[in-house]
């Protein structure tokens, strides 16, 4: 870091603080709203300081649910989202590391065409192939199931490419040393390649977990039962009420709760994440 002198230092701090306030204020406001009385919010008389309904609102949100169009407790939604995000993150890492291993270390017919097919799927995100994907999932009777929520999102060209690039930087001599040491393809993968990919996997996990957690369109399409609903879909449904007042404190509490797991994952894995992006340990 370059140490800055006098006024320039203050200017830098002012800019940084402005940025922090712009980003953090809506989050703070959501938290404040979640602790207020609904009537105060509806009247437009919401205070900027936390109110006294914290425990009550959060208990109601997590364990009971709103009385509006979705009555599902948010605790259950969070569980669904968690299962889906974990399945997607772990599934993607598992599938792509194996396919990258195949593409980099084995010579088989149509190796490059297969690689290019994987590459091309980069251009076909779920939104583009949503109708055929829905049809397949429906035909397999996977609607309203965790498999249906996660499987179509698991195949990942991005992660495969990332692992491929990483594997190509691993020196060939390591493979040769393993062969001389009597390690077959499976042992080489398990004993050498996996431990070396640890930081890459952690970095990917953070990105993919957040990606999975924030899925909206796909869960909205294939879940019809309230008890299979994910939190992102749930928030949206809570806002729409037919005849009653939107229960804003609970909506805001849900929003705050929806932010927590990604924040937790980033904080816990930050060290590994940064190392995975900048450092190569070879």
């Amino acid at each position: 870091m370059v140490e800055q002198e006098g006024i320039r230092r203050y200017v830098a701090h002012v800019i940084l603080w402005t940025g922090i306030i712009i980003v953090a204020f809506p989050v703070y406001l959501a938290f404040v709203a979640s602790t207020q009385d609904n009537a105060a919010i509806a009247n437009g008389q919401m205070s900027l300081l936390p109110g006294g309904h914290f425990l009550e609102t959060y208990y109601q949100t997590i364990f009971v649910g709103t009385s509006g169009s979705t009555r599902e407790p948010v605790g259950n939604m969070m569980f669904n989202s968690m299962v889906m995000a974990l399945l997607i993150a772990i599934g993607k890492i598992a599938i792509s590391i194996i396919s990258a291993y195949a593409v980099v270390y084995f010579r088989f017919p149509f190796r490059m065409p297969i690689f290019w097919i994987i590459f091309i799927t980069l251009m076909l995100p779920v939104e583009v192939r949503i109708y055929p994907t829905y049809k397949i999932v429906a035909d397999l009777h996977l609607l309203d199931s965790y498999a249906g929520l996660s499987l179509p999102l698991i195949a990942s060209a991005t992660a495969t490419l990332l692992f491929r690039q990483f594997f190509m930087t691993v020196p060939d001599e390591l493979l040769e040393a393993s062969r001389i040491d009597g390690a077959g393809p499976f042992r080489f993968f398990w004993d050498t390649l996996l431990p070396l990919s640890r930081t890459n996997m952690a970095a990917l996990f953070v990105i993919l977990f957040i990606l999975g957690w924030n899925q909206y369109l796909w869960p909205l399409l294939i879940t019809t039962r309230d008890d299979m609903q994910t939190i992102q879909v749930g928030i949206r449904k809570m806002i729409t009420t037919s005849d009653a007042l939107t229960e804003w404190p609970m909506v805001m509490a849900t929003a705050v709760l929806a932010m927590l797991p990604p924040v937790f994952v980033v904080v816990v894995m930050q060290k590994l994440f940064v190392r995975g992006l900048v450092e190569t340990e070879k």
Binding site: P171, E173, L174, E176, A177, R179, I180, D181, G182, A183, R187, D191, T192, P195, L196, R198, E281, K282
Partner: protein
Amino acid sequence: MANVALRNVKKAYPNGFEAIKGVEFEVGDGQFCVLVGPSGCGKSTLLRMVAGLETISSGEIDIGGRVVNQVEPADRDIAMVFQNYALYPHMSVYNNMAYGLRNRGMAKPEVDTRVQEAARVLELSAMLDRKPRQLSGGQRQRVAMGRAIVRQPKVFLFDEPLSNLDAKLRIAMRVEIRKLQRRLSTTSIYVTHDQLEAMTLADILVVMSAGQVEQIGNPLEIYQKPATTFVAAFIGAPPMNLLSPRDSGIKLGGPGSEAGMVGIRPEDLAIADGAAPDGGVALDLTVEAIERVGAETYIYGLRAQQAGQSAVSSKPGELPPGEVLVRIPGQEGPAIGQKIRAVAPREKLHLFTADGRKRLN
């Protein structure tokens, strides 16, 4: 303990390039064989074929009386030390050495005994828990050696193991490798492009060029009687002077007078005033440059008839045409620009055919 035999071994790549064009030699039990040659001559490829990391296009490789052409590297009973060491970066020194043994299903106490013993020999005992990145170059090199010796293989293979070390450490490790190999008396094949390493380590020296063996033999024999001009120029530092008698006005009588190429080692030339000793060679030179290294002095001289032309080397490591190198002991010597006469006796001359492929004396 085993001998290694290569019988008419060839390697051709799918694109038609022939990396190894029929190599044949045998390394006796416990001998230290060094493959030496300029880069791209196929020496590393040949070593990797012995290791089983490259396929053999034709011919046979025999380790301890068993043809291993189709045998997996792990089952050839060899151990290899790589140029960049190829240590497993995520494993401790101990695990790096133990990994191959565990993969063979060896019992834990036996693994431990072997690793501890190797660590003791290589002075790595205090570092067994460290990761390779916490070690210096020389220590990594020793771990790589340790990984090879714990296996107690029939054959050690070394692929330029010292080229990543600095000059001083290289000499120290060279001596260590030789001592270790003597004590274990394991058959070894060692690849290097450094002719000094080759000379000092080898029991048998195999000089290679462009996928072929130029000469096989004891290092001193090769130094004294190089079979081709390639070997003559490659082995020995500074390199041998190679002159064409026609251009340099050398008149040779008696047997060998038909020689198309005459080689003279720089140390066999002496500065003299008179005529060449009986049947020898005398060269009139103008001193172009002088290098004093302390114990000896190198004099670069241009032959009289070429004086005035600037001499530019065509190949690195070889003298430019018309230039002659004289190596004299001590620190005395002529001054730059001085005219001198360098003479060599007849028995010190190396005579070759004009194409340099055949030795005549």
